[in-house]
Symmetry: C2
Subunit: 670 residues, 2 copies
């Protein structure tokens, strides 16, 4: 394992110092492999040693079936299970026992997170198991530079760490380092190319499969399986068949053979990811087949080898006529997929975006998540900040994700979204990583990736606690500086940053208002008269989308009770989603007593003030963090403030010009 | 001379049939050269002959100093002058006498235009002279394909006829054919690369000068001189100098040497075109020098060889803050250039866009045109339809140009814009030609290029008469079809098409409202909150830009009387420019008695109806024109209608949502 030199690539949440507690001790490690290598490297740096099981020992890291185990380990009870581990502190020895190498790896990183506190008071055996078997990140990386989207679609961190100028990178050092970071957060699956599978990328399935195998080789030591986005029309494009009909025997046979060859090359291959009949991608509709037919065809090809297909539910009409008020993009996924419940194979995972639209700062939870009890659903989140500041703005997303995961579609007594996910396909996210030295463009955006892994492992973790973990790992104090101010400042800047971002952008759940195409910065009417189905319908009297059954598109009817009723009623609907579900007058009074128009003004002024405060707080940390990192964040905060002011002024001016209502507090609106 | 095969490239206004009248006669031609080649080719096709001056003759085409001249020619009096010719019909012989080969060429094409009528009744000698010495088209063609703008910036007719994939085309047949078409319209100067001079294109001045020479060789037979757009920073980029300061001796010396080398290679080289300190291009401001300093430096380098520099006046702040209401882009050119009047060299031509903004469908005439009596001004028009339908919409522009040329900035008794231009640098236009088989994408857009040449020759020509010429040349009847219906239909479709386009797009001179970037189709607020200085300031009460002295930006003060007063007054201001100069309530009553808001609705419904009528008219011409051309125009009319409906609905909906005023006639507004 090679860690890139510190001056070249930032160590993120695995700086050498994070291994000091382990590296300064006597460690027993069973077997060879990644965990032994990690420990040996840490001990070489901090004076500890890898010891046999017979002498004194401070830390045991062992697969439970290993022989011989130190005596102390035999006192620790518990069956770890796949990917799990048992952790205990017993007789002055810290013990991690796992049933498999992956579990041992997660145990090692657990000790890393605990640091010195792993070697303190005795602890009874704790069983750590991931909530789901598969914890996945998707990359929207292109092999060929796309003329519009570039090397990484919706990527804000430079080029791809896998691909460059039409081919696999020569040096895959960073791929391995990335695998190590992902493993330390709990991730164990990755798809390596864009779901919009262009011509070159389609060949990764066949003649360019060697590139995928090379990536798999780098990630395997960290327990990460590689998945591949494939083009539904591959039998035509690659196989020369006249059709890609999922019920055609020749087509099915083609996929079976192609999949067989994939597993001959990559025996632990994870499976396929498919975006079909979506935004121009081919799909089963061309053959008058259902999406279940499409997904099942691939599931059947993968089943003999234990693979899965992730089939995305992001299907809607992206050539809608804005004049057509009867079509509602929010309805589309439910309309298409709910009727198919129960018709997907066990190894077909329906990958559903968290909201009915497209990764907005605020959306209701997608009704699809509550509508398909007979289908294995994965909930898709977006770590890459497409609509949340594009890694130029601080926007710590786990508070949003936790709200989504804690949402109970069937009401207070029912299951939560987290339960649906853990009982099904788990969590999947679009990664925010590129070849930027800080991995994620904005150094603080690393926290989103780390936290996603942790939530995929355990969706009930507290976002603030995860942030603590990330801060302590990433900013291990190297001098005798009090870590308190840094930690407090980062919490102040990050804990509420998603809500801050919400305040200065599109109000009350109405969404979008971004510049078309690149989606950065404000343009209130940017998507208002386009085919994309993303409208706010603001006029001189009011704003919002009527999605009620009573007078609107009927989208509220896609939810079970009580939400169907709650969302239907402008009085009961939560304020933060009001304009998603209702078209209301500007003078409509929210639950806190302010009007909609005054809320727009107030939140936009407040959001900018919060960014200005964050910027000042960060200034005061000069000297407490690495100067290069401090500079990078400072420059980005300047841009965030500029952009937040632009949002404030455009949104406020737009609504003042339309409504004619002055700000009650007399602040400047241009 | 090779004319491309008819099935490959459309003959435009020079089909073989246009030469029938000449080609079936006995023609005396003095000297060798292009005119003789043209006549010989026509006679080979239509049975006529090139004859000596001694026998019977029907047509004499001669340079007046040629020996021996047929006797009949000696009876024709008149001094043609540079580029001019004398035309007469005498004793049954048609006579064209010129003083130079170029004049003879224009005389030949005059006879082509007249066709059989050139050989009818006797005509006394008519003297034909161009209104200006230089009649120029600019190409915004890139050598390297630009990642955003493509091979031709604002090009809607395919690739460049000069350049392809980073180099000169191997086959320059079309360049020569283009030269022939230009000469037949009266053009005699061309610049061959984009005024945004990117890295590769900068080298055309030095190590890639051979490419320019090759183009000049193709165009020289048709009397067309080549000009080159150069980068102001060339001394740095190409010469390795530390500066491009126009008053630096080393810099001046560099330009002198570079220009000397150009003329060594291309002795009849025309000169330079420069866009400086504009939209990111370098310029003299970096050295705290004036634009006169910059232009004069290049003029001095060109003067020894008789060359000219075209220096564009398109200088404004394109990074304006939309919140800053004190800055007015319309003022910029006058603010920058008017104080420099009298400080430009004689061979420095200030090239001024016709309006103060940027080639909108409707703008007032630029006040710069009236502000610089001591400077040689060229008026720049845009044949390429950037803001007028991008050669997907029928938009015959000469009525607009004629209005501009006939405008009298000093009032009814004063000189017209045409007088300023013909007394100075003449007319320049951005060409609409590319490698499309019809040259201009939309076959009917050929008429704009033809008409521009004719107006550059004589700005007082009537647009409808020019259209007649173009129709008769382009659609020479090959069968016994009555040409009347075709001619009537084309007039009905084209004469009013600019006003039709105006009706369904941005109202009352307010401009823009186009999709940012590509500028096609509507987006009312697309540029409203951007740095480009192009705003309409619509709110719930009214719309328009206050450019008065009384309460606005003071732009009206840049005009001489009476226009300064006329534009200042919302009552006197012409309706079609009302929103360019004034912000008025929606209920403001226009001179025709309708309100602004009702005018918006009415014109947008009417504009679409006019397009629908044009489409129906064209349908009826099936069979009367070449089927491929008919199909192309039909498809484009479908798109025009779709786009016009989109304009109508977006503009009407936008203003209905803002104003709340219903259409008085109850038509459907979405």
């Amino acid at each position: 394992m090679t860690t890139p030199p510190a001056h070249d690539v930032h160590a993120a949440w695995l700086p050498p110092e994070a291994f000091r507690a382990i590296g300064s001790r006597r460690v027993f490690v069973s077997g060879s492999g990644t965990v032994r290598d990690e420990v040996a490297q840490a001990c070489a740096q901090y004076g500890g040693s890898v010891v046999s099981g017979e002498g004194p020992v401070d830390l045991v890291l062992a697969v439970s079936t290993a022989e011989p185990l130190p005596a102390v380990a035999q006192a620790v009870q518990g069956t770890a299970g796949e990917d799990g581990f048992v952790f205990a502190r017993h007789d002055g020895v810290t013990v991690v026992l796992a049933d498999d190498p992956a579990g041992l790896l997660y145990g090692l990183f657990h000790v890393v997170r605990l640091g010195e506190s792993a070697f303190g008071a005795a602890r009874p055996a704790e069983l750590h198991r991931p909530a789901t078997r598969r914890r996945m990140v998707d990359h929207w990386d292109n092999v060929d530079v796309h003329p519009v989207m570039g090397q990484v679609e919706r990527g804000y961190s430079g080029g791809s760490i896998f691909w460059r100028d039409g081919g696999l990178r020569d040096d895959l050092t960073r791929v391995r380092a990335y695998g190590r970071l992902l493993a330390a957060s709990g991730i164990n699956a990755i798809s390596v190319n864009n779901v919009n599978v262009h011509a070159t990328e389609a060949h990764l399935l066949t003649d360019r499969l060697g590139d995928v195998a090379a990536i798999a080789d780098e990630l395997r030591p960290y327990g990460i399986r590689v998945h591949l986005s494939v083009n539904f029309a591959s039998p035509i494009a690659l196989g020369g068949l006249p059709s890609a009909d999922p019920l055609d025997e020749g087509v099915r046979e083609w996929w079976a053979r192609a999949t067989e060859r994939v597993y001959e090359t990559i025996p632990d291959f994870g499976g396929y990811v498919v975006k079909a009949d979506s935004e121009g991608q081919p799909g089963p509709f061309a053959y008058e087949r259902t999406h279940a037919d499409g997904a099942n065809m691939l599931a059947d090809a993968l089943a003999p080898f234990g693979g899965v297909v992730h089939w995305r539910a992001f299907v809607y009409n992206h050539r809608q006529d804005w004049r057509d008020r009867s079509t509602d993009r929010a309805r589309a996924a439910h309309d298409h997929f709910a009727p198919l419940d129960g018709r997907f194979r066990d190894n077909a995972i329906l990958q559903v975006k968290y909201g009915p639209m497209d990764f907005q700062t605020r959306e209701p939870v997608s009704p699809v998540i509550a509508a398909m009890p007979g289908t294995s659903l994965a909930v898709e989140l977006q770590v890459t900040q497409e609509y949340t500041g594009q890694q130029r703005h601080v926007c710590y997303l786990p508070p949003q994700w936790s709200e989504i995961l804690a949402f109970r579609p069937w009401g207070p007594g029912g299951r939560a979204v987290a339960d649906v996910a853990t009982g099904g396909g788990g969590l999947v996210a679009v990664s925010n990583v590129g070849d930027d030295p800080y991995w994620t463009g904005h150094p603080l955006a690393q926290a989103n990736l780390y936290a996603f892994g942790r939530l995929a492992w355990d969706p009930r973790l507290d976002p603030a606690a995860i942030l603590d973990e990330w801060i302590d790992l990433t900013f291990v104090p190297v001098t005798n500086v009090d870590p308190g101010p840094l930690r407090r400042t980062l919490h102040a800047m990050m804990d509420g940053s998603w809500r801050t971002y919400e305040r200065y952008t599109a109000p009350l759940g109405v969404g979008f208002m971004v510049r078309p195409g690149h989606h950065y910065g404000p343009d209130v009417d940017g998507y208002e008269y386009t085919p994309w189905g993303t409208y706010h319908f603001a006029d001189r009297d009011g704003v919002g989308v009527d999605r009620t059954r009573a007078s609107g598109t009927g989208f509220t009817g896609q939810y079970p009770q009580p939400w169907s009723e709650v969302y239907e009623s402008p009085e009961q609907c939560p304020d933060e989603l009001l304009l998603f579900f209702h078209h209301v007058p500007y003078e409509h009074v929210l639950h806190d007593g302010t009007t909609v128009i005054q809320h727009i003004y107030d939140t936009h002024f407040a959001g900018v003030e919060e960014v200005a405060e964050a910027r000042l707080s960060w200034e005061k940390l000069a000297g407490a963090v690495d100067p290069a990192l401090h500079d990078r964040v400072r420059e980005l905060l300047d841009e965030q403030l500029r952009c937040a002011e632009e949002w404030r002024d455009q949104v406020n001016t737009y609504f003042f010009r339309k409504s004619g209502v002055p700000d009650a507090r007399g602040r400047r609106i241009h």
